[in-house]
């Protein structure tokens, strides 16, 4: 029986190897994604374009303007007496933020009445807007501190900031674990679902079911090559991330691979379940997509933090296996922790595997027969 199983697995391998196009995509995708997105997907803000509205320039406004120009992050793109210019610049996407000085700025400054200015940000991208606001305020505050230094110091509480596990706030450190999850889901769940439903459609599955192979053996045999592929992907992605971006890997590689295996098993079971419940290959493809890829990408915390989601979605995310795997992967890669800290999440994945696997095997035989 092992010989049959082995022959079966070899056939599956051949299938995969012969479909050059899919194979290329599967191997290339994580690589391209890591490199491309690592370089391109950033949230930090540079080169902020500043429009200055200064109806009555004086030495104070000029001084503050100079501060902004010197700040490095800011680039003054226009100096104008009217707010209308700001409108035009914002609408055309040529300006990010505007500072509008109220008239008699210096005079009011010197007479201890507050000098007023307006900080207007293009908030169509709220994230960037918040950051730009913060930067601008910093410049203003330090100017304020400078000129106020004579008056008697205001109290300053200086926070020392430490960003643990990811000191430079690199986005790439964040999403590499998520990327691994996505790739594993793609190969384990999606590919398995498609491959199984294709055999079901063609009728070749029936031959297998009539053979001495038991259902679980069929599943295992089908699934092994994809597992191998998935691992190849994980290693490629990790290698690329490490080589190109110096993404840290502080924990145990063996543990990560073991957890990846566990996660793959969960995804595989899901894929088998989908294949056994759908009527045709096309339907299997679409359902697998909806039920595995989309939640894994969106609700797992890979891109958008789970903590920010509304309670309904947070609840839903608890049944998305990728969510737990990402916690584990981040823990291992960024924090360097071991099983002592991750046992809870591992247990969840283990439980999911058992439930899904049983359901998959059980629905397998009667479905086709």
């Amino acid at each position: 029986m092992t010989a049959t199983l082995r022959a079966f697995m070899i056939k599956e391998f051949r299938h995969i190897l012969r479909d050059r196009q899919t194979l290329t995509i599967l191997l290339l995708m994580p690589l391209v994604q890591v490199v491309l997105f690592g370089f391109a997907l950033r949230s930090d803000v540079r080169d902020v374009r500043l429009v200055v509205v200064d109806p009555s320039p004086d030495h104070a406004t000029l001084a503050l303007r100079a501060r902004f120009a010197a700040a490095g992050r800011f680039r003054i793109v226009a100096v104008t007496p009217s707010m209308q210019t700001v409108e035009i610049f914002f609408r055309r996407g040529e300006g990010d933020v505007a500072i509008a000085f109220d008239p008699a700025f210096a005079a009011r400054l010197e007479s201890a009445g507050p000098a007023r200015l307006l900080l207007a940000v293009d908030a169509s991208d709220p994230n960037t807007a918040t950051t730009i606001q913060a930067y601008a305020r910093t410049v203003i505050t330090s100017y304020e501190a400078e000129i106020g230094a004579r008056e008697g110091q205001p109290v300053r509480i200086v926070p020392e900031i430490r960003m643990r596990f990811n000191p430079t706030l690199e986005s790439v450190n964040l999403f590499v674990p998520g990327l691994i999850a996505l790739v594993l889901t793609l190969v384990s769940a999606l590919m398995t679902a498609i491959s199984l439903s294709r055999e079901k459609e063609r009728g070749t599955l029936e031959i297998l079911l009539v053979s001495p192979l038991r259902p679980w053996q069929i599943i295992v045999g089908k699934v092994m090559p994809y597992l191998g592929l998935a691992f190849a992907n994980v290693l490629t992605a990790l290698l690329a991330a490490w080589l190109v971006f110096q993404v840290p890997f502080r924990g145990s590689l063996a543990l990560l691979l073991a957890e990846s295996l566990l996660y793959s098993t969960v995804s595989l079971s899901l894929g088998v379940l989908v294949a056994s419940r759908t009527a045709s290959q096309r339907v299997a493809m679409l359902v697998a997509l909806l039920a595995t890829m989309l939640p894994s990408a969106l609700l797992s915390g890979m891109v958008f933090p789970v903590a920010s989601m509304p309670p309904v979605l947070q609840w839903f995310s608890t049944i998305v296996p990728a969510r737990w795997f990402i916690i584990i992967a981040r823990g291992i890669m960024l924090k360097g922790v071991g099983l002592e800290y991750l046992w809870r999440e591992t247990m969840v994945l283990g439980a999911m595997t058992m439930v899904l696997m049983t359901a998959a095997v059980r629905s397998f035989k009667p479905r086709v027969a």
């Binding site: 055309r92 807007a129 109290v155 300053r156 990811n166 979605l313 800290y341």
Partner: protein, 375 residues
Amino acid sequence: MILNFRIVRVLLRKEYLQIFRDKVMVRQMVMMPFVQLLVLSSAATFEVKTAQLYLVDRDHTAASRGLVDRLRASGRFRVVDASPSMELAGEALLKRDAGMILGIPAGFERDVVRTRSASVQLVFNAEDGALAGVTNSYAQQIIAAHSHELGATLRPMVVEAPLIEVRTRGWYNQELDYSDYMIPGILVQLLTLVGTLLTAMNIVREKELGTLEQLNVTPVPRGAFIAAKLIPLWTIALAEFAMGLVVASWVFGVPMRGSLILVFIAACIYLVVALGIGLWISTTVDTQQQAMFISFFVILIYLLMSGLFTPIRSMPQWAQWMAELNPVKHFIWIMRAVLLKGAGLNDVWRPLGILAVSGVVALTLAVRQYGKTAA
């Protein structure tokens, strides 16, 4: 020529019949806009509701407690645990019981009173860098406010009014509502999926089944076949777009400040590009499965490099140049500019023009490629 129109009409009838008989497809197409909008827009936010804070207060004075109270009062921070030990705090971070640590050293109040300057420690779990950054920003604002108040209490005689009063206004999005930013992008993604993915799969399906071969033997001209394939999906995608806009406006309150007609024209042109890419993909693959994978791969790259999720201006220079060639980028730009900022034709003519040119180029290349491989 008349014969040509008739052939196209006959083919179109077949296409529409096939699409609407495909129950799975229909269900998907109706559900997709809603599901995507609902799920994505709720999930796609970086706003932090409440940060879990671990307190290490070694000072226990009015000043330190005041700071903590202030943080708590803001509603954004919740003290989940406290102890005098930084090690325990670090453990909490590792175990994910807390997301950040506030460390107030002994002698905090004394330093404030005597030297007007004191320091505190803020340690964040920066696994999620963006989240940590935002939380940091909030925390710093509150700390700054508190230091101001401390200053006022210490020298009640001198009114420590700020020298410079800064009013901030966020234009187009005063509440900094992330969904206003995301939803136009989600609609674009929808269009791209229908336009490129479904087109590719649809055409390859005929290849797989062999019905394509049958058509190749008939006098159906290549142009007629392609037109009949692209037009139905073009109309369906536009219908979905319209539906999506309605949902966006009524359910999510996304502003529609500019001309909807302009948005629609942009959508029509953008779809031509998306369809052209789908057509091109269909010539490179043989099975629907391959079509799906390659489409996804291509679409993913386009979407992620387009400024949909992360701002283009944060990307390195080479990526920004690449983005200029990315039709998705231009369309999203137009959508956001028109819907959120009320931009008009004279503000968006440039990206619109680029889209139009891309459409012509994409379609021409795809049709030519199709002609080559069909024979």
